[in-house]
Amino acid sequence: MSQIAIKTLLEQTDRDIAAYLEACVHCGECAEACHFYEATQDPKYTPTYKLVPLVKAYKRHKAPLRGIKKLFGLVPDEVTEDELRQWEPLIYDSCTMCGRCTLVCPMGIDIAGTIRKVREGYAAADIIPEGLASARGYVEQTGSPMGVTPKALLAQIKRQEKETGIEIPVDVQGADYLALLSSMEIMGYPEIIGAYAKLFKRAGVSWTISTEAYEATNIGVQIGSAPLARELVRKIVDVAEGMGVRHVISPECGHAYGALRWAGPNLIGRQFKFEVVHIIELLDRLRAEGRIPPGKKDDRKLTLHDPCQIIRRGGLLKEPRRLMHDAASNFVEMEGAGIANLCCGGGGGVSANPRADELKTKAFAAKLKQIDDIGGVDAVVVPCANCRGVFEDGMFEFDSEIEVIGLGELIAETLDAAE
């Protein structure tokens, strides 16, 4: 088992990963940017320490000059299965792959990206947390990590049609946009479907939802299984290209955007015949083109959470801010907002891993403090369904009355209020 893991770890170590492993000077500054270390002050949560199995395998089998070092007995021992298992909670429970550690690293090491590669080794050896394994089981059966079937989706669509009085296009061949959703949205926040209906009707956007490819969540990326991630991306690509859509909308979900927009073409080995656009990016464009008129601004005191995979690692920094300024008259940023914002504590599969619940809640406390420090915030806008779930759990845990809302819904509500 450890041999499969080591082989995969070495295959995953490309030039960039090697440069990272070679450049780390063990300064430990990455700990100061990690919410898990900040919450516990336990040194084992130091981001670079989480990479130990990969570092050992690399130094023993792949690092330049290892032959000479071997002569002097200076290469590490082989990574054992016990060691892999010992590190497994560090790799899955205590890293949300948020990438904040990169900001503080004097060497600029992308530890989050490297953890993603380490997870490939673990997934290949099937050393993964039970929670993620059961989510994978649901995906294999239904294509959705929460087991959301097309029937369940259609039921939610019907409810939203009734609620909004707008017909929601399903399986429309040749539409311009194919909207994907995350399981969490479909089951937890279905009002986003109604919000899409209102916004796209107003903007005159030709769009559709597919009953074959509706799930944006890519559990393969969270577990670290490229074969599974590839299969899930391919399903979307096949359906989208088969329907002839020009754009695929990635929903308010952090890792789903990265999985499709940035990793997707690399996973299937070619560029797509459509553009991947994040819903935030699309709404920003429609607003700029004047297709979504400014509505009646929400006058509550609102702040914005920056989902790591959309902002820091996704590249959409200004778009949500422009939308917030248009939608809210009392929008206040939290300290450290933007590229350096704190993670919610539940990304990268952590929220799907019940074993990590306690740690996730401790990390969320730092997030909540960031919001509480502003003072008097009525609601926090969280443009990621996974973060939103973590926020709602955390708010409940800490008895906070701050409301949690999605960005798309907020904008749709400003249109409603204007009418």
């Binding site: 490309d14 030039r15 960039d16 090697a18 440069a19 990272y20 070679e22 450049a23 780390c24 000077v25 063990h26 300064c27 430990g28 500054e29 700990a31 100061e32 940017a33 270390y37 040194p43 084992k44 130091t46 670079t48 320490y49 792949k62 690092a63 330049p64 000059l65 000479i68 070092k69 200076l74 990438g99 990169t102 900001l103 503080v104 690293c105 004097p106 060497m107 600029g108 090491i109 992308d110 990206g113 927009r261 940035w262 990793a263 997707g264 073409p265 690399n266 080995g269 070619r270 560029q271 553009e275 820091r312 690692r313 996704g314 590249g315 920094l317 300290e335 450290g336 590229i339 350096a340």
Partner: protein, 222 residues
């Protein structure tokens, strides 16, 4: 051949050759591992990102600076002091000009630059020593650094410390033996360098650049 002639002559050239060849071997070895081309449509420039990534990480973000100030001061103090000493100490300039560029290689590159006055040397040495000591003390006093440090971190620090210490002892140039001891440690340091974490002096730009290029394509500069 005296001991001084040996450590400044053949031993130095062997050490310097090992340094250059092994460092190149290691850098080329990293680059040769290769990377698959990124097929995702870019939003920004990878090349600009590579450069920006390298420059951006010279400057700590203020959000973290409060927590990492000791490292920032220690790190910058040590490195700047060390570069000043290596490049501007009068004996080093003389050594580089006479032993490498002009006499021994027989090439006059025309490199001439002014030496630091003695007080400048003292200040640079003190700043550098203070920085190095702060960084080393943190290796065993800070729980995070204690956990992640290995023998290579300590050996690299100690060798660098000994090179600097013997250099200061040899500053007066009153005894050949002091100069010879300094050169001995310099040679050992040169041989150790490419096999150790001291190589971060060269690998940092690959690492920063890799992140800069990846996220530069996405229009970000983390």
């Amino acid at each position: 051949m005296t001991f001084l002639e040996f450590v400044e002559g053949p031993f130095f050239y062997v050490a310097a050759a090992i340094f250059v060849l092994a460092a190149l071997w290691r850098l080329i070895g990293i680059l040769r591992i290769g990377k698959k081309p990124d097929l995702s449509p870019p939003k920004g420039s990878a090349v600009a990102g590579f450069i920006k990534g390298n420059l951006r990480h010279f400057f700590p973000r203020h959000l973290f600076a409060e927590r990492t100030w000791m490292h920032i001061l220690g790190g910058y103090g040590f490195h700047i002091g060390l570069f000043v000493l290596v490049l501007f100490a009068a004996p080093h300039i003389e050594f580089l000009q006479t032993r490498i560029f002009v006499y021994d290689l027989g090439i006059n590159w025309g490199f001439e630059w002014p030496a630091l006055p003695r007080w400048g040397f003292i200040i640079a040495a003190q700043v550098s020593f203070a920085g190095l000591i702060v960084l080393w003390v943190r290796r065993f006093s800070d729980p995070v650094m204690r956990l992640i440090s290995d023998w290579d971190d300590h050996v690299g620090t100690w060798l660098t410390f000994l090179v600097m210490l013997t250099g200061c002892l040899a500053l007066q140039e009153s005894h050949d033996v002091l100069r010879a001891i300094h050169m001995l440690f310099v040679n050992i340091w040169l041989i150790y360098f490419p096999f150790s974490r001291l190589m971060h002096a060269f690998t940092f730009f690959l690492s920063r650049g890799a992140t800069g290029a990846t996220y530069g394509r996405r229009g970000m500069n983390p």
